[in-house]
């Protein structure tokens, strides 16, 4: 089934990821020589304790976050595209980012209304994570329960979009009534950030990622059957309801936890599966799942490297960079292919 030619594109991301990882660890607002980075990573010690601190407690968690977030978002995009048979579906069509935004908006923009100690506690970083987590989770809970009742994926897609615009509208209303200072705080969250995670947050994100990815791996066979369309899939012993539930659940866990910790990161989930599908020349999920994860990680690491503005102390918002880099790539791909095929 596989010709020799195809393998090189499947192996490529396994080789590229370590390179990009090292690159990402070497870049940052403080210049650390490449040799020292390697030494610190290998535990060989260094003359400068600050460098060691930066690498261990700042850059390493950030690199791991980027790998998990990039890979996880790309995988959720792949799951949604397979489920909805639509190349434009991504993790956010189900209203995940809007739900998260709503949660954060309520906390940030509404905390003045709540006021007092409680309002103060809510606007701490952990408060934000919990709020966006709860926001995306409740939107997804609504979509998951809809998926148990509704068999038609198009209807489900539209319901997800409606939930999305509903929470978007609520965010708009909240923004209108809030102070400039609060609004600024909210806008900063919506820029997305990969670098603010402590090791304990990284651990929590890892657990969520492993959980979501396990469900995805367990659905490989059903997803391959879905490539034939829902009727054939059903005729081959695949339960559509169970599969829909599993895929929506995995996406919720992945995209929900990632958005909670890093803020919304656009484009990765939508475009990476699409690019990888062209590269692999197959839609087989046994090949797609690992390669989409790796390419998602690689692309987010690269975007992060660009956002760092190498050798400069400025950091650009990651959410803008992913779209800025990604959108032209997708346009170019479509330009060349002339049509978008699922």
């Amino acid at each position: 089934m596989l010709q020799g030619l195809k393998y090189k594109f499947i192996l490529l991301p396994f080789l590229v990821l370590p390179l990009v990882m090292v690159l990402s660890l070497s870049l940052g607002s403080v210049y650390i020589p490449f040799g020292s980075v390697i030494k610190i990573l290998l535990g060989l010690g260094t003359d400068d304790l600050t460098w060691s601190y930066i690498i261990h407690d700042y850059r390493l968690p950030k690199t791991i976050t980027s790998i998990l977030a990039g890979g996880g978002l790309a995988i959720s995009g792949l799951l949604m595209q397979t489920l909805f048979r639509n190349p434009l579906a991504g993790p956010y069509v189900l209203g995940i980012s809007s739900g998260a935004s709503l949660g954060v908006a309520i906390v940030v923009l509404g905390s003045s209304a709540i006021g007092g100690v409680f309002g103060q506690a809510l606007s701490t970083p952990w408060g934000l994570v919990i709020a966006s987590g709860l926001g995306s989770f409740s939107v997804l809970l609504a979509v998951v329960s809809a998926s148990l009742k509704i068999k038609d994926t198009m209807t489900l897609l539209i319901i997800g979009l409606m939930f999305g615009s509903l929470s978007g509208a609520l965010v708009g209303v909240l923004s209108y009534f809030s102070s400039a200072e609060k609004l600024q705080q909210f806008v900063f969250w919506s820029f997305g950030s990969l670098g603010s995670l402590s090791w304990s947050s990284v651990a929590l994100l890892s657990i969520c990622s492993v959980l979501g990815l396990t469900i995805a791996v367990g659905s490989i066979k059903s997803m391959n059957a879905l490539l034939l369309g829902p009727n054939y899939a059903e005729s081959m012993g695949v339960s559509l309801k169970k599969t829909t539930f599993k895929l929506v659940l995995a996406t919720s866990i992945l995209a929900g936890s990632i958005t909670a910790f890093t803020g919304p990161i656009a484009f990765v989930g939508l475009a990476v599966p699409h690019i990888v599908r062209q590269l692999n020349r197959t839609a087989d999920h046994r090949i797609m799942l690992p390669t989409v994860f790796l390419w998602g990680s690689i692309i987010l690491l690269c975007c992060d490297a660009i956002a760092q503005v190498p050798f400069h102390s400025t950091t650009l918002p990651i959410n803008a960079i992913t779209s800025l880099v990604g959108a032209p790539v997708v346009i170019w791909l479509l330009w060349r292919k002339k049509n978008i095929m699922f």
Partner: protein, 256 residues
């Protein structure tokens, strides 16, 4: 092999079941090619869906190889019957060979890995449908007629004793219609399968099939092509103002 008794078909709407048609009894034997004919909206697709187990009958019993259809698990069903659909909403990115290979999923392990036996089955299916030269083409890049053959190859790879096809000859030119029907005939006779296909090409069906399952507003009846002509069933199939059936030529003609 396929036994049906007192079957009432229809679907369940909001205000209770909607009855479409009933079939007192029929059975389909291995090695027989059967056409399912009847006017639009009479319930041909519903009957196929009922036979494939994706919707439940309103009443009656349906057994396949001695097993009651409604008591079979989806996995058991997938090894008894395969489908060929006209509108399948499949991924256009799939290669022809991948599309056919997916027919082996009911036999594969949890990730869908294929064994040597599966691979030879897939190759046989591709050979039988004359698709070897197209195997690495994408489904989005081939013609309707070729895609119809791919869909049949997939059902072949699934290697079930029963194959149900929903209008496999629509959108095809006469040459390709004949090609597909010959293929179905071979499936029935050479591979000893039960092949039932819904069609509007009644004239072609009269030339090639063993049995015809005729569905009318009252009920469904299984008979041979000759019986169908001699008992003048085809005269009543359509309203008389525009077409009539000529038993000598076995063709429908338009009235002046």
């Amino acid at each position: 092999m396929v036994d049906v008794q007192n079957l009432k078909i229809g679907y369940r709407g909001k205000s209770g079941p909607i009855f479409l048609s009933e079939i007192h009894d029929f059975n389909l034997q291995p090695g027989s090619l059967t056409a399912l004919v009847g006017p639009n909206g009479i319930g041909k697709s519903t009957l196929l869906q009922t036979l494939s187990g994706s919707i439940d009958p309103l009443a009656g019993t349906l057994t396949m190889r001695g097993l009651v259809l409604s008591q079979m698990t989806p996995h058991q069903r997938s090894r008894q019957l395969s489908l060929v659909l006209t509108k399948s909403q499949h991924s256009q990115q799939l290669m022809v060979e991948e599309f056919v290979s997916l027919g082996r999923l009911p036999y594969a392990n949890w990730v869908g890995a294929l064994q040597q036996e599966d691979k030879s089955m897939i190759l046989k299916a591709l050979e039988a449908t004359d698709l070897i030269s197209l195997r690495y083409k994408k489904c989005g890049d081939i013609s309707d007629g070729e895609m119809q053959r791919v869909a049949i190859a997939r059902a072949l790879a699934q290697d079930t004793p029963i194959i149900l096809l929903d209008e496999p000859t629509t959108h095809l030119d006469l040459h390709h219609k004949a090609l597909v029907l010959k293929l179905l005939k071979d499936l029935a006779t050479i591979h000893q399968k039960v092949v039932l296909y819904a069609t509007h090409d009644i004239e072609l069906a009269l030339d090639i099939v063993d049995k015809i399952l005729l569905m009318t507003t009252k009920s469904g009846q299984l008979m041979t092509p000759n019986q169908l002509i001699e008992e003048k069933h085809l005269d009543h199939l359509f309203p008389k103002e525009h077409v009539y059936f000529d038993p000598k030529t076995k063709r429908f003609s338009m009235k002046d």
